[in-house]
Symmetry: C2
Subunit: 293 residues, 2 copies
């Protein structure tokens, strides 16, 4: 099975793919639409792209493609903790406090603001296109007094030395990825990473009016369906119109969810089920992952 993911290699998306699908071939793509296209055109059987809180790739592009451009169901969700480390070339291990320039993706630099402010105050940054690119640059420039902020996989793949672990400001920070496929694919319910099922629906209201969302949520509330996420997004037809993405904390059934859909459609809402799928909480045990850069 061939899996496409938002590259480059050694990013968090890559980590999620290696952990979830350790035995499969995986191929990095440059952009999120490239991943969708490759799946539509059968170059790959699964696509893994970030959905929320991602360092790499614009999450809104994923949502917009799911909603407006393609009809590819979500077959799984993967959640990974975001852990950033400060690393240098092994030749500079002892002198890392003399670092004169820090390389990383601008979002990673922002995420490690407190560490940088405290331990490397005033040292200039150079932005790179990914944290993996920063690690690669450090590997290729042992002569420079430079360090990178990147993940553990990047340190391993590029042979760098981590001098400070977990330098990100906010712990419990996670990225959610979704797995898309044209075909149903039963995924394992064994193992500690499997956490349950959810169903994602997109709801478009008939018109923008006070209390409309409240009415929509009534259909879920009186059935005691728990919602783990709700997000409003502007429609692409102009300002002032919104649709909602709602995650229901259960697998699609034959009574409750169809009942919600029928009720909302009777209220002139448009409802589309984007997927009903298992979700997994991955642990990022880098040492156990295959590496093949």
């Amino acid at each position: 099975m061939k899996i496409g993911f938002l590259g480059p290699k050694a990013t968090f998306t890559d980590i999620a793919v290696r952990e979830m699908f350790p035995k499969e071939e995986s191929v990095p793509y440059a952009t999120i639409p490239d991943c969708f296209d490759a799946l539509s055109e059968d170059e790959i059987e699964l696509a893994v792209v970030p959905l929320e809180n991602a360092l790499e790739g614009s999450v809104n592009i994923t949502l917009d493609y799911l909603v407006h451009e393609v009809d590819l169901p979500i077959i799984a969700e993967l959640t990974c903790p975001i852990r950033q480390h400060f690393m240098v070339h092994p030749e500079n291990l002892d002198s890392w406090k003399e670092t004169e320039r820090i390389y990383s993706h601008s979002h990673a630099i922002a995420q490690c603001h407190k560490f940088l402010h405290k331990e490397l105050k005033g040292i200039p940054y150079t932005n790179t296109t990914s944290t993996a690119a920063a690690a690669q640059f450090i590997k290729e420039h042992p002569d420079m007094k430079a360090g990178a902020i990147a993940n553990e996989l990047a340190a391993k793949e590029y042979g760098l030395s981590i001098v400070r672990k977990d330098v990100h400001d906010i712990h419990y920070n996670h990225t959610r990825f979704i797995v898309l496929s044209k075909n149903e694919m039963p995924l394992s319910e064994d193992g500690s990473s499997f956490k349950g099922y959810k169903t994602t629906v997109m709801i478009t209201l008939p018109s923008d009016r006070a209390g409309a969302l409240h009415q929509v949520l009534s259909a879920f509330a009186w059935r005691r369906l728990n919602l783990s996420k709700i997000e409003s997004r502007p429609m692409k037809t102009g300002l002032g119109n919104y649709f909602f993405i709602i995650d229901i904390d259960m697998k699609q059934d034959e009574v409750l969810i169809p009942g919600v859909v029928a009720e909302l459609e009777a209220l002139d809402c448009k409802v589309k089920i984007l997927g009903s799928y298992p979700y997994y909480q991955l642990g990022l045990e880098i040492s156990k992952l295959n590496t093949y850069l």
Copy 2:
């Protein structure tokens, strides 16, 4: 007055600042936390950062800082359309169809997927750290058969020739920016860009249970308060707990909004008003902006 914004120069944030505050001095900062810090430490009087749908800067970092790290009220919101253009060095104007490599930020490349797929199919990309950096690279390499995807300000500032306008896939795509300040600052209600007032509140539910959000929305619905945005975000204390960011379509008053807050607090919700402020729809008339790169 000195205004800090998420840089570098010639980005969409820069365009928004120049259009909204044409006569003020503005200073680019490398990251969103740097903008917040500069404001906290009185280096600047206003900070402008992206809140939603941004190419540059992680929007979640803005929300997380607003909610967890600082107590800086929102004093205005600016909405700008996102327009991307394909541009080359003027020396390569006639031969632009022979472009051998495309430079841009990975999100901009993703946003212009259809144009690239149709008119420049198979041409490789190089990611840059911003669309402005791509434009600068093209300016410095007239000898290369290369093009950039960037905004009109970048074309103007770096003297490039736009050969295809509006090459982004999805029209009506906008970025929302917020303006933060320690002090109240009355902004103009004149002019066509002023669109009204909104109030942003953060609500934390007492526990994660079915129907809790529905109950919260009741407090708004029976008062006929229109909500233009709702978003759930995980708390930083672990998975499974959520807070909500809600935009109410009105200026803070002395009766309705305080009534909602009192009712929600009686239900053991935590409520924080992040700001009550005017919002503006900017038009991006680049030709009228001051340029000073």
